[in-house]
């Protein structure tokens, strides 16, 4: 067995030992607060067992293993439905970026340890009402204030902000230069005076995202990450950290096996639905598409193991998987007919078609909308021209409203 396969087996054994207490079934019926408390316990256990900070340096409190070890663990963990989702963004982007840019290493080490154990959570404050896809259009303002800074403005769609202790944030420090050039990046204390968090209830009924308001919030210059005016570069760096993550060709919805099972146990026109040509075509097309995405993932993994850079086709995963999950969920509901009308707001998104359908739009927008992903592929991979951008080369404060 290869070293990675041994590691996978070890990870699996750990996860199996944890599943009765923290897995999908154990969590069923939990309120968000109960689930978060359980999640913190799980994160502490995961840290104790040596499966936290897998690819982070040992001197920062990580395990010092490779990126492949991390993807291997994440791929296994995903199958158990552990309550680790509260900590995914925190450990995925903000904490690594603070590790990279923050100069007070002792302070960072303490943060890393607490974040890995689920005792502290970090959020990422990027999107604003005036800029989601167009990140550099953000308006939250910082001004010099004595030997530090004063922050005013608003962020939105900030995941788990209501439970967060810290955050990383991009702000506008100079409105007189081009929009990308006048940004500065900081870490902030979410409990500081003047920070107000208001949860947003989403269409699916849950409230994991928030609006965050800043009213004369004092920020020390030691909280700045990167140069004044260098914030856009740090923001791009933040987004690149998670470039190769564990993916799910099911678009983070139900596995195709679930659809086949539903088709085998549902009657359509007096026959099992699995015998209906429309259902069969949908199964076959989705299988072919998902198998292709899985093969892309396996090949990327094999390339990384061989010390090569995976190809750009990995960028297709979320785009292709999530929108097809959306349509397949609709078809599953059609197939079940009136039986699909009953709705359980606590049902699990990977086993329930109604929940999968209702939450699919979020998946197509969060983390890069379909349209932005298509633009990125067209421009970065295929060399097609940028869209017409009237704000190009114009100082931020001169862009027509």
């Amino acid at each position: 067995m290869s070293e990675l396969e041994t590691y996978r087996a070890k990870a699996r054994a750990f996860l199996e030992s944890m599943a009765p207490k923290y897995g999908r079934d154990a969590r069923s019926g939990n309120t968000v607060e109960q689930d978060l408390a359980l999640g913190r316990e799980y994160m502490a256990a995961r840290h104790d067992a040596g499966f936290a900070g897998i690819n982070w340096p040992v001197e920062m409190g990580g395990q010092g293993l490779t990126h492949l070890h991390k993807i291997t663990f994440d791929g296994e963990e995903m199958q158990f439905g552990m309550p680790s989702h509260f900590f995914g963004i925190s450990l995925g982007m903000p904490v690594p970026i603070v590790m990279h840019y923050c100069e007070d290493k002792e302070w960072v080490k303490e943060r890393v340890r607490k974040a890995l154990r689920g005792e502290e959570i970090w959020c990422q404050l990027f999107s604003e009402p005036s800029g989601g896809s167009d990140l550099a259009a953000l308006r939250t303002k910082v001004e010099p204030d004595g030997n530090g800074w004063k922050m005013n403005g608003q962020k939105i769609w900030t995941s788990w902000a209501q439970y967060c202790d810290y955050g990383v944030i991009v702000t506008r420090s100079d409105p007189t230069v081009e929009k990308h050039k006048g940004l500065t990046y900081f870490w902030i204390d979410m409990k500081a005076k003047g920070v107000e968090v208001r949860p947003i209830k989403l269409a699916g009924g849950d409230s994991h995202v928030n609006e965050v308001f800043f009213d004369d919030v004092r920020v020390e210059d030691s909280q700045r990450l990167g140069a004044v005016g260098g914030g856009f570069g740090v923001a791009l760096h933040t987004l690149m950290i998670e470039r190769y993550i564990a993916t799910d060709s099911g678009g983070f919805g139900p596995h195709l096996d679930e659809f086949v099972k539903t088709a085998q146990t549902t009657e359509l026109n007096g026959k099992p639905a699995i015998e209906d040509g429309r259902i069969r075509a949908a199964i076959a097309r989705n299988h072919a598409m998902r198998a292709g995405l899985d093969s892309i993932t396996r090949r990327a993994f094999a390339m990384m193991m061989a010390g090569m850079q995976p190809g750009p086709e990995g960028s297709l995963q979320k785009l292709v998987a999530v929108r097809s999950r959306q349509k397949l969920s609709e078809l599953a509901m059609d197939m079940k007919g009136a039986d699909s009308l009953a709705f359980d707001e606590h049902a699990y998104v990977k086993t329930d078609w109604g929940t999968s359908w209702l939450n699919a739009p979020t998946g197509r927008i969060a983390g890069g909308s379909d349209e932005v992903l298509l633009n990125t592929i067209a421009e970065k991979v295929l060399g097609l021209p940028q869209d017409h951008r009237p704000d190009k080369g114009v100082p931020f404060n001169a862009i027509p409203g």
Partner: protein
């Protein structure tokens, strides 16, 4: 088998593409569309000279002893060039049946000739809308074959056919020389595929498999041909992606390259997605040759490659506007080939059903 191409495989891909780029000529291919019964001889001479006919035949039979991965890479280059003859796929299917069939002497006679490109093969399974009819209307008894197989790819010129037949109520796979067969050429929208109705009137033929073994072997042969064809489709779909991209960055309208309009650039990005999903399935399927998962992997490859080539033909022409539908530009060579390849080696409906049967454990 690895899913990363090694140096030798990469060299095959590069070299086959280079040779075809240098030797293929669009005007020759356009002329062939209006001639029934002709294929592109320079293409086939190249295939033989380059050893592509020998690639997937074992060394003891005069071949190079390589597999579907290598043949697939050549097929991909052929697809990009809208190759001028259908024999690589047909001969691949025939050779596999000879290798796995029950008549070693027959294999010993024909495999070296197929490897050398001295004879060409075709595969005659389909009847009407059925890629592999439950009971064939062509009958085999006492070493004689009788009946008609419609629109067999390569049928006008192939020397040898692998035929799906019925032998007293049992399925039979037989090999027949075509020197005495009646060949009625089919005037098609893609004439260099050399479609012919093959008529057998008590023609001598040799059995290679019977009953359940024949069905099993026929499916394996179809799956191999499907994987080769899927590579060819990916080659065509990728060529169309590049043609569309190149046109979109040079052609200007309303004061900017048309590729700066999202309706165009998103369409091209979608074409890229279809190519990469199908390519990944092809690489996986070729590496699964001989495994239990092979049929399923072949179905995945075939379905995604058909979708990619059809869609990219449609969309590449649409992106070009008026010039795209001219005879001279020749995008219709790809559009025609996308359809002919989609129908050969089992159509989409056949592979969709087979895939679902594989998932649910029903017999194909």
């Amino acid at each position: 088998m690895s899913i990363l191409y090694d140096e030798g495989q990469q060299a095959i891909a590069t070299e086959s593409r280079r040779v075809l780029d240098a030797r293929m000529d669009k005007s020759r291919l356009l002329k062939l569309l209006e001639q029934v019964g002709e294929h592109d001889q320079p293409f086939w001479d190249t295939a033989v000279e380059q050893g592509w006919t020998a690639l997937a035949i074992p060394e003891e039979h005069g071949g190079l002893g390589l597999g579907l991965t290598e043949l697939g890479l050549v097929a991909q280059a052929c697809g990009a060039a809208t190759s001028g003859a259908p024999f690589l796929t047909g001969s691949c299917g025939l050779a596999q049946a000879l290798l796995q069939g029950s008549d070693a002497a027959l294999a010993g006679v024909w495999l070296p000739k197929l490897a050398a490109g001295e004879v060409t093969g075709c595969v005659a399974f389909a009847e009407g809308s059925s890629a592999l009819p439950p009971v064939s209307s062509v009958t085999f008894a006492d070493g004689k074959l009788s009946g008609t197989k419609p629109a067999v790819p390569g049928g006008i010129k192939a020397d040898l056919a692998l035929v799906w037949a019925d032998c007293a109520g049992e399925a039979a796979l037989v090999v027949a020389e075509l020197s005495g067969a009646a060949r009625a050429a089919v005037n098609s929208y893609d004439n260099s595929r050399l479609y012919a109705d093959l008529g057998f009137d008590a023609a001598p033929a040799t059995l290679v498999a019977l009953g359940e073994a024949a069905r099993h072997l026929a499916l394996d042969v179809l799956a191999r041909m499907a994987v080769v064809t899927a590579h060819e489709q990916v080659g065509g779909a990728e060529a169309l992606l590049h043609i569309a991209r190149d046109y979109a960055v040079t052609r200007k309208a309303f004061g900017q390259p048309i590729g700066a309009f999202q309706s165009i650039k998103h369409r091209i990005a979608e074409m890229y997605g279809l190519v990469e999903v199908a390519r990944a399935n092809c690489i996986h399927a070729a590496a699964q040759e001989g495994s239990e998962e092979f049929l399923l992997a072949a179905a995945d490859a075939r379905i995604s490659a058909t979708e990619a080539y059809d869609t990219n033909a449609r969309d590449c022409i649409q992106i070009h506007g008026g010039i795209g539908v001219t005879w001279e530009l020749g995008l219709h060579l790809h559009m025609r080939r996308a359809r002919s390849l989609a129908v050969e080696s089992g159509n989409l409906l056949f592979w969709e059903d087979l895939l679902v049967n594989q998932l649910t454990g029903e017999k194909a």
